[in-house]
């Protein structure tokens, strides 16, 4: 009897404590509605407190760039906070210079909306749209790279600069219960306004790339937002050096198609590096363009061709091949896209040739 009494007493105490915790959470974690003032009154939003500023804004159709889906690993979602954010977090510090910190620049994915905020964002971000698309086609380009063509349904057209990217949103799948989004450069020409082409390389255990490679199929709907990014043609030169590896071909292809379509007066050399022939793709398209347009030169290179490749083209690391063909930086700009290792190695070579920060462009995430 005493045991039963003790058990019942403990159960009652646990129940009371549980109710207390639930009620406390409702009050303590309930920040209510918060006002977000953007650009000194240009836009005023009412959002529910408790979410990150990044997701709160996207919930109001204002899309800040992010390559990492709000995990504080890309540093792209910067905003200038005039008032209302909490203290700077250690997670933000690696992505902010001292000057930026002094100006109130923050990572919006790390700001939890708890009270009214005043922020400044670039005007062009108001032009970013969310798109509902449908997968028209999926092409197996290499063993770990897929090409996707997505038809825009709502809205049905996109305006972008060649070189820019979109964010692709996943749905829950398998054991992955959360939605994420990641950045992918557009591989299609801007003139192809009613569709977007993407090139997606599978990252082992990557949440988004696994979704693209293992879940998506033709006919599926996919949400995108964009366009984002400042990787686009500056063109204060007569000659362009274009370098890509892996899925980095995407924005370079968009640039090439756009420049040729518009008949812009640039001489272009495109270096596409891979390890073996099976890692190359779009080779026929690029060879066709080179045959048709004398101002465009295509130089694929393999660092370790296999005997069965029967490779007659350039061999060596992409840096060695670039170094052979590019004598100097005279009246040239360089556009790079690929893995961080490739980009760092190419930057070193291009710097030796006289290229500077003002004449080399690449996506920095």
């Amino acid at each position: 009897m005493a045991v039963l009494t003790t058990v019942l007493s403990l159960a009652a105490v646990s129940a009371v404590l549980s109710v207390f915790i639930i009620v406390a959470e409702l009050f303590l974690n309930n920040y209510g509605d918060c006002q977000v003032d953007i650009n000194r009154g240009e836009r005023k939003l009412t959002v529910k407190g408790g979410d990150s500023l990044l997701s709160s804004l996207s919930g109001q159709a204002i899309f800040l760039p992010s390559a990492c889906g709000g995990k504080a690993t890309c540093g792209l979602c910067k905003v200038r906070v005039l008032d209302g954010a909490g203290p700077l977090l250690p997670t933000e510090e690696p992505y902010l210079s001292a000057e930026e910190i002094s100006q109130g620049i923050r990572l919006s994915c790390q700001i939890k909306v708890k009270r009214d905020l005043q922020i400044l964002i670039p005007e062009e971000l108001f032009n970013i749209r969310q798109f509902m698309t449908r997968i028209e086609r999926i092409d197996r380009l290499t063993h770990d790279i897929l090409g996707l063509r997505l038809t825009l349904e709502e809205p049905d057209a996109i305006r972008f600069k060649a070189g820019q990217y979109v964010q692709l949103y996943t749905e829950p799948y398998g054991k992955v219960k959360e939605k994420v989004f990641r950045a992918y450069s557009m591989a299609s020409a801007p003139s192809d306004q009613h569709a977007v082409e993407l090139i997606v390389r599978l990252v082992p255990e990557g949440i988004c790339t696994t979704y693209v490679h293992q879940v998506l199929k033709p006919g599926d709907t996919v949400k995108l937002s964009g366009p984002y990014g400042d990787f686009y043609l500056r063109g204060a030169c007569s000659e362009l050096v274009l370098i890509a590896g892996g899925s980095g071909l995407a924005p370079i292809r968009s640039l090439i198609l756009d420049i040729l379509e518009k008949e812009l007066p640039y001489k272009m050399t495109f270096f596409f590096g891979a390890v073996r022939r099976a890692d190359l793709y779009y080779v026929q398209e690029m060879n066709d363009l080179a045959a048709r347009y004398p101002q465009f030169r295509f130089i694929p290179g393999l660092s370790k061709p296999e005997p069965a490749d029967d490779w007659q083209g350039e061999t060596g690391l992409i840096t060695e091949i670039v170094s052979r063909y590019v004598p100097d930086s005279q009246d040239k700009e360089a556009y790079l896209c690929g893995s961080p290792g490739m980009i760092n190695a190419c930057l070193s070579v291009l710097n030796q040739k006289g290229f500077t920060e003002e004449t080399i462009f690449y996506d920095k995430f």
Binding site: T73, P172, G273, S339, A345
Partner: protein
Amino acid sequence: MKQAPEWNQIEDNLRPGRLSASGFLGDDPRSLSEIIQTDQIALQRLHLTDQAVAARLRTLTDAAKSGLGKPVLVERHYEVVVEDFMGQIPCPFRDNLRADKRLTTLRNLKANRILRWSDLNIHLIEKHGFYEGVGSPFRLDPDVVSELLFD
């Protein structure tokens, strides 16, 4: 086995879909602290430390980085390929570390066996003694590491 509450929060980060598609625990039924403790016992038996393992992994990765995805012969009997991908992945142990998305694949030519690891693996081992759960795609079993990398 009971573990400190903060470890429960870290376990959440290790589950599928939080930071990687399959997560870091595989189908291991044990708690995080049990997984770590068991692997530490194995390391002691093998006369290894987390720091020694991490240093060895890092040395092999660094030796092949310049290959830019091309296989590189290291120490005469390792063929090592280092591939990197855009972006970074945060450490699930909430220490603000962000690891480059770099994958090292090593073939031990004597044993004809393959081992692969990420830069995040190196950090998880060095700073947290975590070799991932049984069944996790990136688990580095201490016995296998000892056999293939310290031969």
